[in-house]
Symmetry: C4
Subunit: 219 residues, 4 copies
């Protein structure tokens, strides 16, 4: 732990820092707590799949769950990727401060909402508003992740060599996930189905573009 003392009479304190080496336990708790939220959110996705008791035509009812299964698979994959991002960002951190904890909570709030918006798109994937709600949730999640990354670099909370090795930076790649989902919102306002097809297309196109442009944001 470092700093944290009220700086003179200025009223606003410098955020308390917990460095990985000095305060391993405190550093670790934030990651473990975040993992708890991730694990629960990713497991709650399954609650969108449900068969009532006493159904007469089970095969047909199971078939009706296919869009929900698709939404489950999509949201599971997105949350897995998001977790991977979080894992890499924290691997690159040398410490945390109150600001980062606050941004991490904002980030987790959008993680927590995914089981809800995922159920909405599973049940109403053909409706524009459902696609907008889902894409909005994931875009906000991506933006909160980008904010966390930028904050960590600005506040000197990053171990530069490890960040470079893990390609944790504030370059174009940071904006890929939020960009894809933000772009899909106007598409959804025209056609719900087109917006859902746009996600893999935009994602692959974006990934190719990111690879071609040299990263300069992490410098």
């Amino acid at each position: 732990m470092e700093g944290g003392a009220r700086s003179g009479g200025r009223g606003i304190a410098r955020p308390t820092r917990f460095l990985r080496e000095e305060s391993e336990f405190e550093f670790w708790r934030l990651a473990a707590f975040s993992d708890g939220v991730f694990a629960i959110a990713i497991t709650l996705l399954v609650l969108a799949l449900h068969i009532p008791e006493g159904v007469s035509d089970l095969p047909r009812v199971l078939e009706d769950q296919l869009p929900d299964l698709f939404a489950f698979a999509l949201s599971f994959a997105v949350l897995a990727r998001i977790w991977l991002f979080h894992h890499r960002l924290f691997a690159a951190l040398k410490g945390i401060d109150t600001g980062l904890i606050a941004l991490n909570f904002l980030y987790l709030a959008f993680v927590t909402l995914v089981p809800f918006t995922s159920e909405v798109i599973g049940d109403y994937g053909h409706e524009k508003v459902a696609v907008v709600v889902y894409a909005g949730n994931l875009a906000a999640l991506g933006l909160a992740g980008a904010a966390m990354t930028i904050y960590a670099f600005r506040r000197d909370l990053v171990r530069p060599k490890i960040a470079a090795d893990l390609r944790v930076d504030t370059g174009l790649g940071t904006w890929l996930l939020p960009g894809v989902f933000l772009l899909s919102i106007p598409i959804a306002l025209i056609d719900a189905s087109a917006a859902q097809w746009s996600w893999p297309v935009l994602f692959i196109a974006g990934a190719v573009a990111v690879r071609r442009v040299p990263d300069r944001g992490s410098g």
Copy 2:
């Protein structure tokens, strides 16, 4: 681990202590278990948001969820702040004993109730009794937190220097959260909506007051 032997024939044993340095694992388990409860409670908040299948006017039904979304955001923010308090308190601890574990369970019981009372206020925010139940839950949670802090100081379970750096003390600030929600209960008995507006107002006024009064409770 320290003590724990039955003290002579007195019948009541001195509570067993697990010191952070000697019993890192046992110390850590309590924080990890608490984080598990926090993570689940904060993620269960999303279950208050629910769209039934087969709705015809989805945009309107989503709009009806706005008070639930507001309750979600409020409870998420409160639990995040509560977690931050718990994180700082445990960072300042040099050990735990059976009494602190018991108080921590009391504290977690009120954390666990938040998804329920939060759903009540999301659905019935205009009713006095709903606001009283919610404010009562959070006031009890705040009081249990204050009790835990005072207990830790009295039983010499605190590392004074780190507590001072993190501003973990038994001063006025400890009573801010329970005070705000306790004060809002009589307001709720007059007007449900006024009580909800009183939370941010009281909270900001209280935070300013706490800052002006020098902390003497931690000495």
Copy 3:
């Protein structure tokens, strides 16, 4: 880690042991996994409390939840005590083996059932069968805990000095919790309400009796 090699042609291998010192990570995972199950079970208790939307007489509906709140408080307290037992047992362990992992899973299965049986007794506390189901769940949980303790002592998985300090032993105290709930089952068959009153009475009487009889089981 120790042993684990197939012992000659005997077919049945000696259970693989993970010692706390050598395999800290593997030892830790079992406790952390158990804590996860505990944390989720204790938090799911709140799902027994539920207010449907669109209720007209909210104060009365909230009042109807009081038996559920009582069941919540009781089950929360029991699970907290059970966790404390688990915390102490693991603090006293010097290692785990496959047999202990299996018994721990049996134990966790009964932990996992508590939110279900607790909901049953919350909704049907006046019915004999509900009390029998609940008491049976907790008796089985207590017996699984006792089996785990005895197994750990027999297999030399315990650090004797720490166990003595923490009063982890196989004496009378081990049988207090399962004994109380087992004894209440015949009482429940006569009167559901009497069985519920017998729990605190038997528990306090048993705790006094355990204190008076010197522990000889741990020797």
Copy 4:
């Protein structure tokens, strides 16, 4: 952490490795996250047991839950065994890389589905499609586990001595669990009940066969 640098102009980077010794924290997070998902999935199994409020003949309604209780016990036992496999595999690992993290997520996706398919078989155990869905889920889970094991050996992520002691290998035993459930699918297409009886029979027969054939897969 090791490698991770983009290898020249090849575009596809060698997956970043987190070694247990160098990056204990990052290694640990994957196991802890997986344990979170396991703990939640195994605890959500209990949600399949449910008694509505206001039932008049409680003993009969409880009796109707017996198939659900059987499904609970079966799925709990399977997930416990699966966790044990995961615990041993990770004990044998010397590090993780992005490929292993991805396979682990695939594996966890099938873990997450178990509460759903378990509820289906609890409610519809007499229907062929329910048995096929359940067996398919567990077969896929077993195959993902086998894929993870093979990947770890191929990528040199295993500590050979510990793997040998724990009998973590890519031999016949790896295929026992997926084999049993795969074989039961054609049986289920003939008779739902026979398929469920085939599980213990095939499992015991397979375990005996595996013991007789010397393991050569781990070499």
